[in-house]
Symmetry: C3
């Protein structure tokens, strides 16, 4: 303990030096300085990480002086107390203290653990506002607030048992499993469950007990009531824009068989050029200049970044809505369809009364989806990017093929749905009419794979020219084979049933 | 529009400066200069990409002055008009204008869109000639001109429907689906379907309408009648040799379950060393010096590149035939076999009259395949590379194991074929005797996976020492399990059939 | 031949220059010098690779002078003859000559081919001793010496045949297949099978003939009787620590569906930060400073490396035992369980007399496994690393979730086991009671996938926060679906059986 105190004194002195030198003429606020003095010792990795961030090297006032296109701060002005210091620990972890149910007294400060979009909005209000229109910000409620998706989630996570020749699912799923499974990406609900004292190197201290923690899911429900987690894409304390521009960030949630976006990208020509050349690219530049800073798009280029030409013309604007260049939602549920109007998809009801964006037979629930005009406008916006490096004919051909693949994959989903309906009608499985889960039997799970894995993969491959993900790598080959397996399963099951 | 004109004037002035400075003493031809003046504005990404290429920085005459081993141009001489200018837009896009059905009048030039191997042969005749012997150059015809493979292609791509308890396949497949699926890698047939006027920033202009466009498949049928697309591996306007030497290029088409070459490489010791060290390697050097420029081979090292030792001895010569160090075709159809003699495999017929390189029971259609002597010569050539870093005993052991695995995987394909034949004989499925497709039923698709996915994966793993791709990752585990599933399917199906 | 001799003379002169210059003041031993003179010509890649190693640039005596935390040599002293020369060919390939059955006379030297942990222990005794406690060092015997695992191995590798409507497995498996399959990673048994003369560039020479060669498996049985292969992770002649610290090394054996550690890591936040930033990290530094040399852990960080804070405090010690921070063995056999006490798991017997660490129903064979106290100690050690960058609450939440997932995945394995037991009891398959292999029928293979693929993947995802590998990418989705497929298979099989 004595050694620890001596170390802390040394750190204090060192930190004072760091304070004046780290950020050049810029100052670390006194509050943040106090945080660093201990945490440099207690969680050194966090402090080191922060030192690599732009937050540690500039102040909001300095950031506001940059030319508009180079500026990554969107507030017109920031609170006086923050303006001339770098953005340190206290600036974020003590902001909006009263709104945070996770605020606790910590060495004289009102600190909260979970920094939220509202906290970030102090300097980045436009990004936070746009993100609110991003379907990802509603990822928690869109999954758990939709009875059908909720049921699918349970069918994945519930423990099963086998008794008397029959399988059964547990009625409930523990929250740890949900947080480790679907909600890992969708976001958990982080709530304060109490206060607990713990012995620390500084003596006993009290800390809030949080449910659903840790989590960095895109639709996290935060203790201040906000939705989302900026650290999903701008990870940890470097808050890096460069990391968010690289495809590895998106891969955290978009690599599996349900959304193989990263895998498709990586076998595309764009992905090849990225892998071959990215180490020579500039991922820090704002605006991001096509052809100069990068020679092939990443996920961010097409869906989020401010991209300009070398002559300074804006090709596309920055957006954290991310779907405003997407005419279609190609992630089938169960069919691909025009993009939903609202980020909150739990409000959708089709004609059959199901909370789905299409009927079971594929017709869109149009009143909840953007119309053809908006679709055309979004595609036109996306095409601007393509045209920086490709001819009109090239781009037109690409989009024709993509939209054709949306149509044909929906047809293959329809064929699978017809087999499923036959299974329900003939009593080989129990479905909607029997008020049974539509996700708990083998044929139902095969049906889900038809759209969730194979049709999705084929569409992502078409969208990004990712070859085999539309053929043998979970593409058309599997759509075709799965149908045969479904039909045979139905034959086998009916045969067993008839005999009994 | 006025702003656009001002910009274009500025670009013109800028381009004039670029013209004299970009390539040092080297000039951009007047024709290419004219292209750049507009396209720097219209498709800036293309111009920027070209600027990074060696084409923009040297002239054919300069290239011819290099020592033979360092030279990447194979023509003895080039047309006078091209010799002393850098290789710009016009040099390629106006070459051989009369041969190109896609040639059109464009601002006074006879421009064609699709640059072909014949155009590249102006400076690189040897590479183009060798590529003609590469089985990849015939990838379009080898697939679509072989009735069996064509049928398999249709079974993958055709829309299916389910009526009266039975699945059916659509009789035809739309060309957009084919271009988005198999032909994406194999190459489409690019044909001129007319001329269409379009409003552009420069006023109304006419452009040819192309079918099968865009496409960069290795066996593309071009509007000048040639086969192949150099940009498959030397992408876009940087025409990079470095990119072609990196494994990401091959991964575009060789990563899926049918040809998991990239995946296997990446878990091999070679792949590990590549991933760990490639950023320190020199991918631009010619010749490519083993141990100095790179410390583990990539795909290109073994199959294409000119490799030398530090003392200047040639270890292996450059080849765009790529199969001249391959004794075997390990991509089973349905069995692995000695490499075909001709790149055009659609000419092959086995004794049973099927267009296959082996009988259904595995015996090779020998007259179409290279003989044991040629096989030995090719293996000897490959071994030269191995021996630069490995002992004789090491290399001998590796090849013994590899050839043993070819034998055993063929045996496991034979076992699956016997199950399939039993299914046909007993009426559980319809096959050759019933003049039915051999790819449209579940058991047939399981049979295909036995050789196309599992035996192939196991062989690639053996070829490159890629561990788990020969065991649990689509390897022997799946060969073994798939057989059991096939036999059980047959039992179940016969049971259903007997009852009916 | 004459040219070759001239070259060799030139090489001799060159090598003399290299000798005095390569390693600064440090000398290459005369013996190693002789090796290099020929092998620079015969296997230039090896010599080049060695030149990049630290072995070529320092001597044991120099290495011993380093401060303790920076030292990568663990011997207190080394034999005099080796102390002041760099570690070259002869230092390793002639060490302990009498212990090596593969020692042979080679140009006057007693050379052996297979360098073993015992040879490395001359300078690195602590690492070798620790590695002996690593379960990986016993990987050969743990697989081949356990009758159940041996049987599973055969069921994967044996050729199958189909006759009279029935599948059969070959009784034996050839050694080439085993070496190309399971033993590729587990390690082969390398034995001297004779001596053979071969014509070389230097005239006829004799070399030992080795079985099981080449191989670099982690549990290789060496000709000197030792177990393991340091080159598994410190590849080839660069013996790089940097390579071992990168995840690609572990990926060689830990990427497949049975142990998807690499894949899980790559979609984790840690993996994202690695992929985005590793090119700026220092992989050569000893000790490895968290936050400074790297900003997210790799496999080595958590399982092997000496990690310190910037202030010089040791966070965790270096270990080649690698499991001393692992409380659990999450690689299910068939259930996850407390880590085995001994690296030799072939000694384990459960109450039912099976060589398994748990009963078939999941209860641990506790006497062979570490107790709760040791588990807590190992977890506490691992947590030290987490806490360098994460708060106590974060880390506690992570471990709670991880241990919950161990429990729930074991429950899902139990459900699958119940289906399997029902299949055996009802005669749908033959199992233990029938003294039949428990790995040779479809339902048994489905059961294996339940724990080997899906439960394992889910646990690795929980351990490293790898999202979809616990859900759709071989995770809970597949555990759930596989159970339904198993139960249906049982129904179908019983139906067929009853009829017969």
């Amino acid at each position: 303990m004595k050694r620890r105190i001596i170390t802390l004194v040394a750190v204090f002195i060192l930190a004072s030096v760091v304070r004046s030198s780290l950020a050049g003429a810029l100052e670390i606020s006194e509050n943040s300085q106090e945080c660093i003095e201990c945490h440099q010792e207690v969680t050194p990795g966090i402090v080191e990480d922060w030192k690599t961030s732009i937050h540690s090297k500039t102040s909001p006032v300095e950031a506001l002086k940059k030319p508009e296109l180079s500026r990554t701060i969107s507030a017109a002005k920031v609170p006086d107390a923050m303006g001339n210091v770098v953005v340190g620990c206290a600036e974020c972890h003590t902001a909006n203290a009263k709104d945070h149910k996770d605020t606790f007294e910590h060495n004289g400060f009102q600190v909260h653990i979970v920094v939220t979009p509202k906290d970030c909005a102090t300097c980045h209000p436009q990004e936070v506002s746009e993100y609110g229109k991003n379907i990802m910000s509603s990822a928690f409620g869109n999954l758990t607030g939709n009875p059908l998706y909720r049921d699918m989630m349970n069918s994945v996570n519930a423990i099963q048992d086998f008794h008397g020749g029959k399988l059964s699912y547990a009625k409930t799923v523990d929250s740890e499993t949900e947080a480790d499974s679907c909600l890992f990406c969708h976001g958990t609900q982080v709530e304060v469950k109490g206060i607990k004292a713990r012995e620390t190197e500084m003596g006993e201290m009290e800390f809030p007990v949080l449910s659903g923690w840790p989590n960095q899911g895109v639709g996290r429900i935060n203790p201040d009531g906000t939705k989302g987690s900026c650290t999903s894409c701008h990870p940890r304390h470097s808050f890096s824009m460069a990391v968010a521009r690289k495809p590895y960030t998106c891969a955290e949630c978009h690599k599996g068989p349900d959304v193989p976006a990263y895998k498709v990208y990586m076998v595309s020509k764009h992905g090849n050029i990225y892998s071959s050349h990215a180490k020579e690219w500039n991922f820090e530049a704002t605006p991001w200049v096509a052809g100069k800073d990068f020679t092939a798009p990443t996920c961010a280029t097409c869906h989020a970044s401010l991209v300009a030409s070398e002559s300074g013309d804006v090709i596309v604007k920055r957006t954290h809505q991310m779907n405003d260049r997407n005419a279609w939602r190609i992630f089938g549920l169960a069919y691909a369809h025009a993009h939903p109007k609202s980020p909150d998809t739990s409000i959708i009801k089709n004609k059959a009364g199901l909370p789905l964006p299409t009927e079971l037979t594929g017709e869109p629930a149009s009143s909840f989806l953007i119309d053809a005009g908006e679709q055309a406008a979004r595609t036109a916006e996306m095409r601007k990017l393509c045209l920086a490096c490709h001819s009109q004919a090239w781009v037109a051909g690409q989009f024709t093929r993509f939209e054709n693949t949306i149509k044909t994959t929906n047809q293959m989903t329809l064929a699978a749905t017809k087999v499923l309906l036959a299974a329900w009608n003939k009593g080989a499985a129990k479905g909607l009419a029997q008020k049974d889960s539509i996700f708990n039997e083998a044929i139902e799970k095969m049906w889900v794979e038809q759209w969730l894995f194979y049709a999705n993969s084929t569409r992502f491959a078409a969208a990004m020219a990712g070859a085999d993900y539309g053929v043998f790598a979970n593409g058309r080959w599997y759509m075709s084979k799965n149908l045969q397996m479904m039909a045979d399963w139905l034959d086998f099951k009916l045969d067993v049933k008839e005999k009994k």
